[in-house]
């Protein structure tokens, strides 16, 4: 018998190669080769100088502030020292710090009034093409006032078979959902923008409970394919080929920032 601790400390599996590809893509965007990282490239000595001088600046600022109230300026030499060191800082910064160029592709944030598509589960119990998705690594379901019966894909359909075998899409629920918890949201792990009017958009249910809903979606190379600071369930994967995408959904609830991250697959058949 082994202890839990020992077993959990074993590491037998390596991550898939995708991880390096995504990482490398992100590095290309955020830390391009050829340009040194601004902060990390400064030697420890210079950083210490900057740190100390910044500290002096703060003190100097406090001193100057204090001096404003005290007419006897006997500490004048200190002021000069502070001012001189300020010049030095500027010198250091100009010569050493190179701002990394961040290239972020931004799809225009689509400004639309509250879209009807958000509500179809409530008002119009139309059959969804995909069973209610409860994936273990997703946050939970939306607060919907009435119980809605959701139809499930026929088991022998091609799409159903594909979904059943897809490693990303396991743990699909049978359609029974608990609508009783008002603070939860439901994020799909799949949508099908094929123009049939069903699941054509990436819809986060329960979105309207939260403020400042922000969404960032990246592709498998780490590039941002969609971004919105006020997401209104309008992303339809435009210009995105089929495949897995990675989202970061941030929102405020009761003044506290929350985040939900995960994967979503786009299928266009």
């Amino acid at each position: 018998m082994n202890t839990i601790k020992d077993l959990l400390k074993e590491h037998s599996k390596s991550p898939s190669e995708d991880v390096w590809e995504r990482l490398s893509g992100r590095l290309d965007v955020e830390m391009p080769t050829g340009k040194s990282s601004s902060w990390s490239n400064l030697s420890v000595a210079k950083k210490t100088v900057i740190g100390v001088v910044s500290g002096l600046l703060v003190l100097g600022g406090v001193t100057l502030g204090a001096l404003a109230y005290h007419p006897d300026r006997s500490s004048k030499p200190n002021d000069l020292a502070v001012l001189e060191s300020m010049d030095k800082i500027e010198e250091v910064i100009e010569s050493e710090v190179v701002e990394p160029k961040v290239v972020v592709e931004e799809a225009p944030a689509e400004e639309l009034p509250v879209v009807k598509e958000v509500k179809p589960v409530v008002e119009n119990p139309a059959p969804e093409e995909v069973p209610a998705q409860e994936v273990s690594n997703k946050t939970e379901k939306a607060p919907v006032k009435q119980n809605v019966k959701q139809e499930v894909l026929p088991a022998n359909s091609t799409l159903a078979k594909q979904l059943a075998e897809d490693p990303v899409l396991k743990n699909l629920s049978d359609g029974s959902v608990d609508w009783s918890k008002p603070t939860q949201l439901r994020i799909p792990n799949l949508f099908t923008p094929n123009g049939d009017g069903v699941n054509d958009l990436f819809v986060i249910e329960g979105l309207d409970q939260y403020t400042s809903p922000k969404l960032i979606v990246r592709d498998k190379n780490g590039r941002v394919v969609y971004q919105s600071n006020n997401y209104q369930n309008t992303w339809g994967g435009r210009d995105c080929p089929e495949g897995i995408y990675y989202y970061e959904f941030t929102f405020f609830y009761n003044g506290i920032e929350n985040q939900a991250t995960g994967r979503v697959r786009i299928i266009r058949t």
Binding site: T3, P15, W20, L23, S136, P167, Q184, Q259, T261, R263
Partner: protein, 183 residues
């Protein structure tokens, strides 16, 4: 992890220059071990990979602040763990769980007593991944990474009582399922 110092120094120097090859080498050296960490905190291997990837971005971005005061492997692990913790702290699901936990104290289980099992590592890991999120994070921090309840309460910005409860609940959850697995 055994490290040859000059090797590591070269890799670090290369990474600071954003040399992709050095970054790849650093990644290759630590990704397996760190993936293990990510797997036991996450609810699936996919989530673990996402966490691993973002965590490595932090490692590369903060590499300049490594002061050689600890072994490099230790530093790398702590960056990843800190990143995982802040990821879960901000996670809406984690928050919802802690919020809905009721606060009554469970009977006092000896927190030091080691749980043993006949399961192999991967089986146990899959079980752990099924634990509710907040419970799983607390369980890992206490039982595997061996932080104190006080430290865990600070890291997660929770009351110490809530953390203790979460841990006791986690042990109970696990032991019930280990008993089932035995049959």
């Amino acid at each position: 992890m055994k490290e040859i110092d000059s090797d590591i120094e070269k890799i670090i120097a290369g990474c600071l220059k954003n040399d992709r090859l050095s970054q790849r080498q650093l990644y290759d050296r630590y990704s397996s071990e760190l993936f293990g960490l990510c797997r036991r905190y996450s609810s699936s291997d996919e989530e673990a990979e996402d966490l691993l990837m973002e965590g490595f971005m932090q490692i590369f971005k903060n590499l300049g602040s490594y002061q050689h005061k600890s072994a490099f492997g230790t530093w790398v692990t702590s960056v990843m763990l800190n990143f995982a913790i802040s990821h879960f702290r901000n996670s809406s699901r984690f928050r919802m769980e802690i919020l809905t936990e009721n606060m009554e104290l469970l009977e006092n289980v000896d927190e030091e007593e080691q749980i043993r099992t006949n399961l192999v590592a991967d089986q146990l890991l899959q079980l752990i991944q099924q634990m509710p999120e907040a419970m799983r994070v607390v369980f890992n921090l206490k039982a595997v990474d061996e932080y104190s309840f006080t430290e865990i309460a600070q890291m997660l910005d929770k009351k110490e009582n809530a953390v203790r409860n979460s841990y006791m609940r986690g042990r109970k959850w696990l032991m019930e399922r280990l008993k089932l697995e035995k049959d």
